[in-house]
């Protein structure tokens, strides 16, 4: 058999696919079962949810970084198939990454929880997969639960998504029931990749990570041509050239192979210094014989949410900087630059895809890098049109020009799709109205579930909207949003004053109509977390010179220890040391000591308020 023919036979036996699902519908568990069943990983060696390899991912049960695995499956037809399973991130913040990894596939397994049915992200992900023209194979999971209703869920999939679900495998990923049906469906229903090895190289970057020894490891899907060690390649968007140092596949750990050919999924390394040089969505081609047109769909991801990150008391600026640099090497969507705050000193203004992305970076700084950090109120990017006609994009409230210099301001608006059970529609409409949402339309998915389509200012979404949504729907509500554009808005800068001194780290830009509410909320929250001082501490919220809310932390009335018995000075000393240490962990603003948690407390949703 000739080389080419052998390869085509091999190409026919490749299946590139993703698993997509709403959060908690069992995506990672199914991936684990597939890995186990194809013998790639023994049960004993497997950490629960192998593909989610960050601790935070495992704890939150979501996937942030993609994982890709090549497995070999011996099908009932007696042939061996190569499965390239491309895992996708499971959150709205990472939609673009999801769409690129789907672009690397021919098909997708759509997991739907047999007890929950179709949910917001089921829809959003299915649409993404349809946009990429993928063959969608519905899989109904959790059939072992007594509340499972597979027939109804099948009907939902057909009615809502318009996807044939009659033959959908009914499985329990957790219990390992009917996993083989899934594997057979992959073989039979997902098409083999097309593409020609003789044409110029055309490969899609769908993810990357930074390795200390090899540089950036690029996850790629080859559409046309061949790539091997020593090839000169070119990134078509970033226009940078490299020489390939290694090609390989994930089996599941990176394993070098001599080449990757059309239809293959694997990785390349090429001494690339940071992930921003190998952007997700970019097309790799040969430097000498480049392809004419790049693959469609490339876009540079832009941060939507910003906040300040500062070293906490006792933490070094340099340590935070090093950690942020390390994170950035691995995360092209994360940006930062130095800034200073009068309250917090030297720190960084950081940009994120969304709130979850922000929380994840914060958590990684704290856990992986063991850093003490303070985060300021998140902000979106406002467009400020000045009286002289100049336009400024502002993401730090402190940089807002003075009122006299501003002609008008615009704020980002998102299209939000909120899926809720029928009974909570009233609650959510109320919530959205509170958050300045404008309802576009409302869709009944079935007798029980409704999708509400709202246009909503992003700055109303980033504080605590998601928490409020969850709380008001007993966890059943789900949210998906996309940037729509900018709209003119009456915005003001809300300042918080402690003991009559403004603390810039608490400043935020809010809609005029929300200033009073926000100001009161922050003052009340701060009153709860700021300990009593030897003097009364006024907490005020102001817009310009006008005070719009005030609370007072009453002074300490009694802080005196009476008995010291039998000369046990050490006990008293320990108490005083504890008191002092407590203060050390606080931020000092003038004479006022503010605990670190105050910065997050003012952002948290509070059901009582």
């Amino acid at each position: 058999m000739g080389e080419g023919k052998r390869y085509r036979m091999r190409q026919n036996n490749i299946r590139n696919f993703s698993i997509i699902a709403h959060i908690d519908h069992g995506k990672s568990t199914l991936a684990d079962r597939i890995l186990e069943q194809t013998g790639l990983i023994s049960q004993r060696d497997m950490k629960e949810q192998f593909l989610d390899n960050m601790d935070i991912e495992r704890e939150r049960g979501i996937t942030i970084k993609l994982q890709t695995t090549r497995l070999v499956y011996k099908a009932k037809d007696g042939q061996e198939y190569i499965f390239n399973l491309i895992d996708t991130p499971g959150h709205v913040d990472f939609n673009y990454e999801v769409s690129r990894s789907l672009a690397a596939c021919e098909g997708a397994l759509l997991i739907v929880d047999a007890t929950q049915g179709v949910e917001a992200q089921t829809l959003a992900n299915a649409y993404l997969a349809l946009e990429e023209d993928l063959e969608i194979v519905p899989v109904i999971n959790k059939i072992d639960l007594s509340s499972a209703r597979p027939d109804e869920v099948k009907k939902e999939i057909e009615d809502i998504l318009g996807i044939e679900a009659e033959n959908a495998p009914l499985i329990s990923a957790k219990e390992g029931i009917n996993i083989e049906d899934v594997l057979e469906a992959v073989v039979q229903r997902i098409p083999a990749p097309s593409g020609n090895t003789d044409e110029s190289l055309k490969a899609l970057i769908f993810d990357s990570y930074y390795d200390n020894y090899k540089g950036v490891v690029v996850y790629t899907r080859i559409f046309d041509g061949t790539i091997k060690k020593g090839d000169r390649i070119k990134m078509m968007a970033s226009k940078k050239n490299y020489e390939v140092t290694e090609t390989g596949v994930f089996a599941p750990f990176p394993t070098p192979v001599s080449s990757l050919k059309a239809g293959d999924v694997g990785y390349i390394t090429a001494s690339i210094k940071q992930v921003a040089d190998a952007r997700v969505g970019d097309t790799i081609t040969g430097a000498e014989h480049p392809t004419e047109k790049p693959l469609p769909g490339y876009k540079k991801v832009i941060p939507m949410v910003y906040c300040g990150i500062y070293p906490a008391e006792g933490e070094k600026y340099e340590n935070v900087k090093d950690a942020l640099e390390k994170l950035q090497v691995n995360d092209a969507a994360f940006v930062f630059e130095p800034e200073t705050s009068t309250a917090l000193g030297f720190g960084f203004r950081c940009g994120f895809l969304g709130l979850l992305h922000m929380e994840i970076i914060q958590e990684r700084l704290e856990r992986e890098f063991d850093l003490g950090i303070i985060t300021t109120s998140p902000s979106v990017i406002y467009k400020v049109v000045k009286t002289d006609g100049a336009v400024e994009m502002i993401q730090n409230p402190s940089n807002l020009p003075s009122v006299q210099q501003i002609d008008y301001m615009e704020e980002p608006i998102v299209e939000a799709d909120i899926m809720v059970p029928n009974e909570y529609v009233g609650n959510i409409m109320e919530l959205c109205q509170e958050r300045r949402g404008v309802m576009k339309h409302m869709e009944y998915l079935d007798a029980n579930r409704v999708v509400l389509h709202y246009d909503m200012p992003l700055n109303e979404v980033i504080y605590d909207f998601f928490d409020a949504l969850k709380s008001k729907t007993r966890g059943y509500g789900s949210l998906d949003y996309d940037l729509k554009g900018y709209e003119r808005s009456r915005l003001v800068k809300l300042d918080i004053l402690l003991n009559k001194e403004p603390v810039d780290a608490f400043s935020m830009i809010v809609h005029e109509s929300k200033a009073q509410y926000r100001g009161k909320f922050v003052c009340e929250k701060l009153k709860e977390v700021i300990p009593r001082h030897m003097f009364a501490v006024p907490i005020q919220a102001s817009v310009g010179a006008k005070i719009i809310a005030r609370e007072t932390v009453k002074p300490l009335r009694k802080d005196v220890l009476s008995k010291c018995y039998g000369g046990d000075i050490s006990r008293k000393k320990k108490l005083l040391e504890k008191q002092k240490e407590g203060k050390k962990r606080m931020r000092q603003f003038g004479e006022v000591e503010v605990p670190q948690e105050a910065f997050t407390a003012v952002l948290k949703y509070d059901e009582k308020k």
Partner: protein, 379 residues
């Protein structure tokens, strides 16, 4: 010869009070008490050799309830102290006692043993309150013992009082103060009730049965201070007042970074720049002592920063405060050099004052003294 305070701990009570978290046991057999007293003597003998250059000028028998100790055991201990240490002629020798555990004979014995000061835990002149906080004695028991002590010849008596007890009205506290001052004790201690972890009162407090009323607490405190001042007592320490000349010299050592040796279960010492404390397990303590083994479980060599912090925070417990010349001499620098910002803020806030080379808390500073003291802690 250097002066030394000697503390001996007796961890036994008839019954633990509901608020008490001191190291003390109730319902203990006389055999164990006798064993314990022998162990104490062993510890005294063991310490003897490193104390040749010291003269003991204060002794404090504390507890627990030292007045419970059988005469025979107590005598052996006192004899052992006299035999093993140099004793100053003008010694202040205190025994703590609880009403109902005293008798004319016992008081005579105390005096004849050299004990010249007696401290009585009366706590309140109200039987309902005494019962409520778990005391075993009545107001009447106290009066009887108090007069007996006077008759026996005690010229230096302290009474311990507690205020801010749940359901204790201001009126009741005023009555207690009035009644005590009428007796003209030389010394009065007054402590506000604290809910200490591990006590029955703490359980009730944390279950929400009572809340702390800081306002009432401070009102009661200042009522006592003002009344005592009017009656000629010197408010010489946050929780203590005395007729001039009767300040407790032993307790003042604690607040003045002077040396003291603690003997007995869980006792604390400050000696030759070391702070150390003893075993807290009764059986282990007795066993170790019998084997002539060291009973210290914690020894810490004070660093300069510890000395500075302790000198200030203990010194501020005294109303006349700390002597700034002493500070300069001890630490080769002024307190303002060490704590410029703190002193400045505290002075301008009228939390502390400096006069005639003494730095002290103001009255309003007393109420938040922990906050003030913690500013002088060097971590």
């Amino acid at each position: 010869m250097k002066p030394l305070g000697l503390y001996v701990h007796f961890p036994f009570c008839i019954k633990k009070c509901h608020y008490c978290d001191f190291l003390s046991f109730e319902k203990i057999s006389y055999e164990i008490i006798a064993d314990y007293c022998n162990a104490v003597i062993k510890e005294i003998e063991k310490r003897k050799q490193d104390l040749n250059d010291y003269t003991v000028d204060t002794i404090f028998l504390g507890g627990g309830t030292p007045s419970l100790i059988p005469e025979e055991s107590l005598e052996k201990i006192i004899v052992s102290i006299y035999n093993n240490f140099h004793i100053a002629n003008d010694i202040e020798f205190t025994i703590e006692s609880n009403p109902k555990t005293l008798s004319k004979e016992k008081l005579d014995f105390f005096l004849s043993s050299g004990i010249n000061r007696i401290s009585m835990g009366v706590q309140a002149l109200d039987d309902t309150l005494l019962n409520f906080i778990g005391r075993v004695h009545s107001v009447q028991d106290f009066y009887k013992n108090y007069y007996e002590a006077r008759e026996a010849g005690f010229r230096n008596i302290n009474t311990d009082l507690i205020f801010a007890i749940p359901n204790q009205s201001m009126k009741k506290w005023q009555d207690t103060m009035e009644g005590i001052i009428e007796l003209k004790p030389e010394h009065i201690s007054f402590y506000s009730l604290k809910y200490e972890e591990g006590t029955p009162f703490y359980e009730r407090y944390s279950s929400g049965e009572w809340t702390e009323n800081d306002e009432e607490d401070r009102n009661m405190y200042w009522h006592a201070v003002n009344k005592l001042r009017r009656k000629g007592y010197i408010h010489y320490e946050i929780s203590n007042a005395a007729v001039p000349g009767y300040e407790c010299r032993h307790n003042l050592k604690y607040w003045s970074m002077e040396e003291y040796l603690g003997i007995g279960l869980g006792a604390h010492s400050y000696l030759r720049n070391l702070r150390f404390s003893n075993e807290r397990d009764l059986n282990k303590y007795i066993q170790n002592a019998n084997n002539m083994e060291d009973n210290r479980i914690w020894i810490y060599q004070n660093k300069i920063k510890d000395d500075i912090s302790e000198f200030i925070f203990t010194g501020l417990r005294k109303r006349k405060g700390i002597c700034l010349n002493d500070f300069n001499e001890r630490f080769k620098g002024s307190i303002e050099q060490f704590f410029p910002k703190e002193i400045d803020n505290l002075l301008s806030g009228n939390w502390i004052e400096i006069k005639e080379n003494q730095m002290m808390l103001t009255d309003r500073g007393v109420d938040v003294s922990n906050s003030i003291m913690s500013k002088f802690i060097i971590l």
